[in-house]
Symmetry: C2
Subunit: 142 residues, 2 copies
């Protein structure tokens, strides 16, 4: 049964303790569409991005390539509004059930980052349709 939790969750009120000692301070976080159950993406959170997500009700990750906190959708407008949060048995993985604004989570324009199916012949097949054109959404400054 789904329900919405009204943010902000204040950091100091959070009694659940994620185990950030694993993975050099980074834990994997899964984003799942709260209605369809479709898995949208996996990225990483550190303690600051976790608290920022709780405070704002939108998902913040840690970008391993840019080495900075990353407000998902901050550039594209395709933010992830948190509907539910789950921690796993070991407190070292988080599941965000979200409303994906804009309908697509992947920077390539697909609904899900998991759009490459590995077929029995070993080849990959792209499944799903592009929801948006990355070149239009992520306008490069020249």
């Amino acid at each position: 049964m789904l329900f919405s939790i009204a943010p902000p969750w204040k950091g100091s009120d959070i009694m659940i303790k994620l185990d950030f000692s694993k993975g050099e301070g980074l834990l994997p976080a899964i984003a799942q569409d709260y209605k369809s159950g479709k898995i949208l993406m996996l990225a990483y959170i550190n303690k600051d991005s976790w608290e920022k997500s709780l405070e704002t009700g939108e998902v913040y990750y840690w970008s391993r390539s840019r080495r900075e906190i990353w407000h998902k959708g901050g550039t594209s407008g395709h933010v992830q509004k948190i509907k539910e949060i789950y921690a796993d048995c070991d407190n070292d993985t988080v599941l965000f059930k979200v409303e994906q604004v804009g309908g697509a989570a992947c920077h390539t324009g697909y609904e899900s980052c998991f759009h490459k199916r590995v077929d029995s012949n070993g080849k990959e097949t792209i499944v799903g349709e592009k929801i948006f054109d990355p070149e239009k959404v992520y306008k490069r400054k020249t």
Copy 2:
């Protein structure tokens, strides 16, 4: 649309190349119930466990604590039969859509490892029912 892929996928036939250079040779792998869409667990794979999963059609992970390949369900009988496999846009995360034999993926006896909901008051609430009793399933040798 779901479909079954008949194993074995032979390692040498796999044309998709996962990027095991990330995470010191370990990539996160999500197991999702292929019918309900419920996320069952997240664990890690290395190259050997990936190839073993492809060859056998059942999921093998890498146990970070035991530092060995881990045939999921090898002790409990609760194996994960692979129905579909997806790679993400960066080839650094895998999604296994599985049939969870025994109905529970978590070593605590719950269907899903994600059975701790983080509520708006910051407390965690256990959701779901125990499918099996871990003490009976994982018989300790004395």
